[in-house]
């Protein structure tokens, strides 16, 4: 399947190992990633708050690049996936807003043919799950995993729900399907839909308050005795990773649970060269990525 690869801003710049993991697993699962000159998605927690009009225009400019090549888009960040899906939905469903952007683009911005997929949705298709099982050389057996999707993966359900309009609420299960096919054990924990709190720190500098939101989440994950936290979002990953590290400096008894992007764990299980995954970038030691 040829598909336009939307790496976003955070992963290629801050976590290039996740990009390397994605490229590796794509080759293993029959995804032909096409590189394009996409700009920032832009993020639902940044530009959209300053100007929803500019946010919409930039998102459409990205979508039309993929559409010009006749391709769908795959994202590896919950924020990118949310922005591109919401912009597509607004464009296809709101004549007022479509008319407003026609002026910006001197004509029709976008036809609505290009669809947007988040990586876990593609990997969780039946035929790909079979392939993951067949190609797995480092099974995740014995690993107790807590999944965290990141709010923008599934909320608001009016935007992020299924094609048939069915809400994926309270939570999707794509990562559960992927991780189980690689041998991991999924642990249930309280309030899995709670936000990680990242935007409070990076948007308004309220770091302590941001860590209080994170702590509520971590307490539940610790209680469930998870060995690892897995997320499809680099902003959530950074919050769990740097946040636990900060909490650990304040409190020696803080339990530190390794955090992985779903692409890192899949690439690891499929036999990637671990040196290419840059696991030492993680602040909380991520043993599965270390040689």
């Amino acid at each position: 399947m040829r598909i336009a690869f939307f790496p976003g801003c955070v992963i290629p710049i801050r976590y290039p190992g996740i990009e390397a993991a994605t490229r590796f697993l794509a080759a293993k699962t029959g995804l032909d990633l096409v590189d394009m000159s996409f700009h920032c998605c832009p993020s639902p927690t940044g530009l959209k708050e300053a100007s929803a009009g500019a946010w919409f225009a930039l998102a459409l400019a990205n979508l039309r690049m993929a559409e010009a090549e006749g391709l769908d888009v795959v994202t590896i960040c919950s924020g990118c996936g949310n922005t591109l899906r919401e912009a597509r939905k607004i464009y296809c469903g709101d004549e007022d807003k479509r008319a407003a952007v026609r002026e910006l683009f001197d004509g029709e911005a976008f036809q609505g043919r290009t669809d947007v997929h988040h990586l876990p949705d593609l990997l969780a298709r039946d035929e790909t799950l079979d392939r993951l099982e067949a190609e797995c050389v480092r099974p995740l057996e014995g690993l107790r995993v807590a999944t965290h999707y990141g709010c923008h993966y599934f909320r608001p359900s009016s935007v992020m729900g299924g094609e048939d309009g069915s809400p994926e609420y309270p939570l999707p299960e794509s990562m559960e399907l992927i991780l189980e096919s690689l041998g991991a054990e999924i642990v249930d924990y309280g309030r899995p839909d709670l936000c990680c709190g990242a935007a409070l720190a990076y948007n308004v500098g309220k770091t302590d308050e941001s860590l209080r939101v994170l702590s509520e989440k971590l307490d539940e994950i610790t209680r469930a005795e998870a060995d690892a936290i897995v997320t499809p979002c680099p902003a959530c990953l950074a919050q769990f990773d740097a946040g636990q590290s900060a909490l650990g400096r304040k409190d020696k008894d803080q339990k530190l649970t390794p955090v992985y992007h779903i692409a890192e764990l899949v690439a690891c299980a499929l036999g990637a060269d671990l040196k290419r995954l840059d696991g030492k970038r993680h602040k909380v030691k991520a043993p599965l990525l270390l040689t």
């Binding site: 801003c9 300053a50 409070l200 939101v213």
Partner: protein
């Protein structure tokens, strides 16, 4: 927003029961005093959306997690309402410094996160191609047409 869209939204806000499920579900309301989505809706109804929020600092604490509208018994899009209140504050020059910096990064390089030589070196070591150049002229033109360039001017500080 068109007049009919404004009417639709006001009609929707009038359905608000003030039940406070939004505030009770909000992770921010638990950690920041004075952050209260229910009260913001009430103030919109009493004083109008443009006068609803006088303390613009507080509203920027929204995490955009959308839990409020997911749980609202009348499906009020609290998230969209908050975005519009933030957009109005930004147009008046009240914009958190970190968000302004992010927008400036996008204008300069097309990317929200600053690009460095260190990052390019790491990419090379991992066997990745250098970052592709973005069409920053196109990004800046869209910013101009949407009035975002004005938000980046120093007088907004």
């Amino acid at each position: 927003m068109s007049e009919s869209a404004k009417e639709d939204r006001l009609g929707k806000l009038r359905l608000c029961l003030q039940c406070a499920v939004c505030t009770g579900s909000c992770p921010v309301a638990r950690v920041i005093d004075g952050y209260n989505p229910r009260e913001i809706i009430l103030r919109c109804l009493l004083y109008g959306e443009d006068k609803a929020v006088t303390d613009a600092d507080t509203v920027w604490s929204c995490l955009t997690c959308h839990t409020c509208e997911e749980r609202c018994p009348h499906g009020i899009s609290v998230g969209d309402l908050l975005i519009e209140i933030m957009n109005r504050a930004a147009a008046e020059g009240r914009l958190p410094a970190a968000i302004r910096q992010t927008i400036a990064n996008i204008a300069r390089t097309g990317r929200a996160v600053p690009v460095s030589a260190r990052c390019e070196r790491l990419r090379k070591n991992l066997g990745l191609e250098p970052l592709r150049a973005c069409d920053t002229d196109a990004v800046q033109e869209l910013f101009r047409k949407c009035g975002v360039d004005k938000m980046l001017e120093p007088k907004c500080e």
